[in-house]
């Protein structure tokens, strides 16, 4: 829960899981960032799908990510929107395992000065409802990285 979001007068758009993505959202409720890895070619991928996007193998399994990432790209959105009243980051993070995902960077100033690209990040989860927890990222702290 971030201070910024606590102030928001509206709610974020809520994701609606499908059978192919349910494991991901089950994972975030348990504090896990679940990627998938191919048994045949070892490719680790996101977003979820029940086959490998690299070799089309259906033999894939869940691979829990470390939660460590770096900031790959980021804009500061100045337009109010669902869940946000104040300027906020819209970022793409690159996970240690390779895949990239969109997120918000929280627990720091929402400025480019505070959000240099390639900065180390770590995952955190915001509970949006009984069934959805959203993965967000915050600046890495050396003591918390080894989880």
């Amino acid at each position: 829960m971030t201070a910024d979001n606590a102030k928001a007068t509206t709610s974020r758009r809520m994701p609606m899981p499908t059978p192919e993505t349910q494991h991901f959202w089950d994972g975030t409720l348990e504090g896990e960032l679940r990627l998938q890895r191919c048994d045949d070619c070892a490719h680790t991928y996101f977003p979820p799908r029940p086959f490998c996007p690299k070799c089309a193998s259906r033999s894939v399994q869940i691979a829990v990510a470390s939660g460590r990432a770096t900031l790959h790209a980021c804009v500061i959105n100045h337009r109010p929107g669902p869940g946000f009243d104040e300027p906020h980051s819209i970022a793409v993070v690159e996970l240690e395992e390779g895949p990239r995902m969109m997120s918000n960077i929280v627990d720091c100033e929402q400025t480019h000065d505070a959000l240099p690209l390639d900065m180390p990040l770590e995952v955190t989860f915001e509970q949006l409802s009984d069934t959805i927890a959203l993965p967000l990222f915050k600046p890495a702290t050396s003591t918390e990285v080894a989880s």
Binding site: P15, M16, P47, A73, H78, G81, P87, N104
Partner: protein, 379 residues
């Protein structure tokens, strides 16, 4: 497609442009279509192929009283019309039809006759992008630029140079929405939308439309207008989620589409006299110049700053003022094609001397899709 085998023989935009509260979406399609048919000296009964995006080809054919033997509803965003041209050329060559009408109309500003957009909450972008608060293309399409700037040491001034250069072109275009000159400081100090993108680095939102009519090159010379021959075509798609682009400094859809078009046309980059690159945002021409191969990676900002794309430059680009200054109803690709045809015909408001080869490059979604059409003054 076979190089030079098909040509544009009718081309027109809507009678008015900008704010058109008197016409709904389909009305804008029809206004542009009627203008294009008048341009080509044709009536609906002469048209046996239809293609459009935004509305269905069924809507279009019924509204205009056309009974087609070919219908294309390819809808991949703003470059859909480049793909329609490509598919129409193939269809004409294959004998599926003889004369194809391609239309665009969008009440982007006034919102007349626009259906409610129902986002599919279960789509991957709804699950994995929408919760983070993006407010449309300004907050998504812009993300790759920040990586590009980081990798190549580019700055927001490089973006501003694009907007300033295109405003200078728009000053010559009486139909352009914004015609007053602007400076780099004006751009940098404009209202912030998605830092680092200010309002003047984002496209307009206007009403308008356009239509094209294509037929075989054999028939083209019998029409009243100078034909714009199709020399090369390309298309590709990459991802519906900008966060999943393979390379944030280069669009796969751009490189695949562009390379295909140049190979078909059998031309070198130095042969190109005029260039349109769909500019929904100011970084698009930078990505386009590099991904189409006109300059090397990281070189487009200096190329633009040095005036190569401005009036009198070696590669005049976005000479109508572009989506940043001319108009942008939502799917701008049609207007890029219209300007290419005008330049080939020699009738553009800011006409470039002796245009023999014109390239029109479009984007769909947020670097999600692409289409490239290369026009020639001769087959």
């Amino acid at each position: 497609m076979k190089r030079g085998s098909v040509a544009v023989v009718g081309a027109a935009e809507t009678t008015e442009m900008g704010k058109i509260p008197s016409l709904s979406t389909i009305g804008l399609h029809a206004d542009a279509a009627l203008n294009a048919m008048a341009d080509a000296g044709l009536s609906p009964s002469d048209i046996d192929g239809v293609a459009t995006a935004g509305i269905s080809p069924t809507d279009l054919a019924h509204y205009l009283g056309i009974t087609p033997t070919y219908a294309d509803g390819t809808a991949v965003g703003g470059c859909s019309f480049m793909l329609h041209v490509r598919h129409a050329a193939a269809a004409i060559n294959e004998g599926l039809c003889t004369t194809v009408l391609i239309t665009h109309g969008e009440s982007g500003r006034s919102g007349v006759g626009v259906g409610r957009r129902g986002a599919n909450a279960t789509s991957l972008s709804s699950q994995f992008e929408a919760p983070y608060g993006p407010m449309g293309p300004p907050t998504l399409f812009t993300l790759p630029w920040t990586r590009y700037a980081h990798e190549y040491g580019a700055s927001t001034v490089d973006l501003a140079n694009v907007a300033v250069t295109q405003r200078a072109w728009a000053a010559h275009n009486p139909r352009a929405k914004f015609r007053d000159p602007i400076t780099v400081d004006d751009v940098l100090n404009a209202k912030m939308i998605a830092d680092p993108f200010t309002m003047l680095l984002c496209c307009l939102v206007t009403d308008g439309g356009g239509a094209l009519i294509l037929t075989s090159a054999d028939r083209a010379k019998d029409f009243p207008q100078k034909p714009a021959y199709i020399l090369g075509t390309g298309e590709s798609v990459e991802t519906p989620m900008v966060s999943q682009m393979a390379d944030f400094t280069s669009s796969s859809a751009f490189t695949v589409s562009g390379a295909k078009a140049f190979a078909e046309a059998e031309i070198a980059h130095g042969d190109v006299d005029h260039l349109m690159i769909y500019d929904a945002f100011a970084h698009l021409p930078i990505f386009g110049l590099e991904d189409l191969g006109f300059v090397g990676k990281g070189e487009a900002p200096a190329f633009i700053a040095d005036g190569h794309t401005a009036m009198g430059g070696s590669l005049p680009m976005n000479t109508n003022g572009g989506g940043l200054s001319y108009m942008h109803s939502g799917m701008y690709g049609m207007y890029a094609l219209q300007e290419s045809v005008r330049q080939i015909r020699g009738i553009a408001p800011a006409q470039v001397d002796g245009v023999e080869i014109a390239v029109s490059h479009g984007v769909g979604g947020m670097f999600g899709a692409s289409g490239t059409i290369i026009f020639g003054a001769s087959a």
